[in-house]
């Protein structure tokens, strides 16, 4: 980019680092949608931070031209919260996998929803641990056979939307990596919506879950308008088959902001504090 007058396009958010992803991986689609969303919002890459954990999906920050933090497995959300509280002027997008976000990161997900800091969280869900070569994740169906769990886990799958709703997420939607326009729109909405926005993005792992290529035909738009009614959202989620896409729920809770913003001024006069101690 040269200068601030020219219009930013999706390609301006794409870095020169080659993704490590397998050809055909759904994560490419998510990356494209994120870049398009940034372009649509004309965000200055120097004022955006993409934060992630560890996983194939979590490699996404370095593939953008924004600031990035590729942190630890499962810990993207609290890092992003600290960052956003310290720097409310930045746009912070968090992205990562289903293992990262719902397994090891489950507690941070719960509390990020409650905390309602102004972030957008995109979970690139392929119902498997891609990077570690094919173990079941919380969203994996109980009968999926794998080396580690022959015959399946026998445990019912985690319900991301329901848990997000109960925990207080302010915006909830589901997208699909194969639906670039739809997903781009959801990410734009999520970024614009104040507070914590959660976007559940289905993203096939062609290597360890080749059957997920079928999502192309199985996913279907919800057709219903977004609701701000908790009960109604709750009802829709209970009836959901897990492949319904589109915006689902938008609440109007005020985004959390700390009582005082950090000054970043180290020269502040501390004499009133000294006075407290003086005999």
């Amino acid at each position: 980019m040269d200068g601030c007058t020219s219009k930013l396009e999706a390609k301006h958010y794409k870095s020169d680092v080659t993704p490590i992803w397998c050809p055909g991986c759904g994560h490419f689609g998510i990356q494209a949608a994120v870049n398009r969303a940034f372009a649509e919002l004309q965000l200055d890459p120097a004022k955006v931070v993409v934060v992630s954990g560890i996983g194939c999906s979590s490699r996404i920050p370095a593939y953008t031209t924004c600031y990035g933090f590729h942190g630890l497995h499962g810990r993207a959300l609290p890092l992003a919260i600290g960052l956003k509280l310290a720097r409310p002027d930045l746009t912070v997008l968090v992205a990562g996998g289903d293992g990262d976000g719902f397994s090891i990161g489950g507690n941070h997900f719960l509390h990020a929803c409650r905390r309602n800091v102004d972030l957008t969280y995109v979970v690139m869900d392929n119902e498997v641990y891609g990077m570690t070569k094919g173990q079941p994740s919380p969203t994996t169906a109980p009968d999926w056979d794998s080396d580690l769990q022959p015959g399946g886990t026998g445990i019912s799958a985690f319900r991301p939307l329901g848990v997000a709703l109960q925990s207080g997420a302010n915006f909830i939607a589901r997208g699909f990596s194969g639906d670039l326009n739809g997903l781009t729109k959801l990410i734009v909405q999520g970024i614009k919506h104040p507070g914590f926005s959660f976007i559940h993005a289905l993203s096939p792992c062609v290597t360890f879950r080749p059957e997920e290529r079928e999502w192309k035909t199985l996913t279907h738009a919800s057709g219903e308008a977004i609701t701000s009614d908790f009960q109604e959202a709750s009802r829709r989620i209970a009836a959901d088959d897990g492949l319904t896409t589109g915006p689902l729920y938008a609440a109007d809770r005020r985004a959390y902001a700390p009582p005082v913003a950090p000054l970043r001024d180290t020269k502040t006069n501390l004499s009133h504090i000294q006075a407290e101690f003086r005999l």
């Binding site: 200055d44 600031y67 507690n107 950090p262 005999l279």
Partner: protein
Amino acid sequence: MTQFTSATDSVSIAITGSGGAGAITAGTLLLEAAGKAGWYGLMTRTVGPQIRGGEAAALVRLARRPVSGHGDRFDILVALDWRNVERFVAEIPLGPQSIAIADDDAGDVPEKIAAYGALNVTAPFARLAEDIRGARPNIISLGTVAALIGLPEEAMIETVAATLIEKKVSLEECSQAIRAGYDIGVQLAATYGAAGALKLPEPKSTSGAKPERWVITGNQAAGYGALKGGIRFAALYPITPATDLLEWVAPRFAAVGGVLCQAEDEIAAVQMAVGASYGGVPSLTTTSGPGLALKLETIGLAVCAEVPLVIFNVMRGGPSTGIPTKSEQTDLNIALYGLHGDAPHVVLAPLSVEDNVLTTQWSVHLAETLQTAVFVLSDQLMAQAKSVIPAPKEVDFGTRRLQPVEPKAGVYKRYALTESGISPMAIPGTPGGQYTADGLEHNERGTPSSQANDHHSQLDKRNKKLEAFDYGALWAEIEGEADAEIGIITWGSTSAPVREALARARASGIKTRLVAMRLLAPARPVQLAEALQGVKKLLVVEQSHSGQFLGYLKAHYDLPVAPESLRHPGPLAIRPSEVCDILSRWS
């Protein structure tokens, strides 16, 4: 074998009682009154297992000069009652010269107390309290203590009155209560001749302005040091004995513009601090042993991604959940070696309540300058001790986080290999500075790399920036005689009893050299060798069972001689006499 006598320029008082007896209140008032009278002092507390309302003791030491730790024994024990005192009697050693004053109603002197062989007397604190409005036995006993130690009655009365005014007790009533106790003290002194022995000597008349003094706890001192250092973001998960540090900071952040976050767990807390720091705001997280264990993975990330981070850890008894309310110096190993992989970082430890100000301020400076994780190891003893201290000196450490000048996007090397090992760090928002911070090994740009040369050069860089840095004189407090042949090395709050022992040795003409380390990592072998030049005998003192500090010294220094180890675990503090015993054996 020389026997040293202990200094008589301080007096130690323990006040014990069951829940509701007000032992802790009495101790606090005693310290404050001493402060008012121009004295210095220190108060720690010890409690039983009950959450609230259980037995407790206030342990107070007073002197006309600064006091950093407890002595060998308590001169005066005031027992408002004896209930469950055996739970911490080992923490209140008495000597044959000590006096134990129990309330008339307290009943038999417990066996373990009797075993100390002190003078056991009783006093009618409770009975007298019945007759004075607003008075309680603990307040009466303060008059007695004041009389015995020579603390001006007025200071005691004023202090008590300032507190009891809330409860609508008048100055007159307060002074009646204190005087009633005072009379007992005078009588005791007359009867047993104790008073003269316990009274602090009058100060040499000093002309000129009185030095400024503060009343502060170790955790407050650390909080203040953090604010001075520039910390403007703090995150924690509550844990004893660290929580009150940020409980002190919380309302004060409002004034300086700081954000405090109580996280859902320790991992989230330290991650938040890393995120905020990456965003350019100096950040800190507080914890204690079990919480520190949980934070290690993220601390390793800060080291690898080179994000400044201060981890303030208040040590308590370990292992595992251990003894949350008692002190021990056993989180040294985990702080030095607890990160997986080769992850060089900084470890500091304050040496006293007041040193928490300087050490914490320095920790922020080092974290920001070196772009790494800095541990500060305090301990329960100093963290929760309340102390009258000389006002800390003002220090300014100067420059901070190095930032790139007009970085160019796509060219900027976040992890550039530089002479110092420190690379300019772009803060989000800086145009052209975009990079991805990474805990994967990476090349200079920050792009993940598993190549041998990238790994080696980044390992070199992260090590060099710490090794090559000039830490100046702050790495240790060194005192004693240049030609001494006895050297002592210690750290943390154990420095206080060791210093006291050395003062006694000096009084007996024994020369020693003391190195009390403030900087534990990276090790400074050249400086230590210099500090110990000529030493022929070496003692290492620490409060641990396994000798963690000893092992550390052996691993990273070439000690001039094989050291002897003086150590034991918490909750008992190292006493000056334990050090003296060894010194006298050596001389």
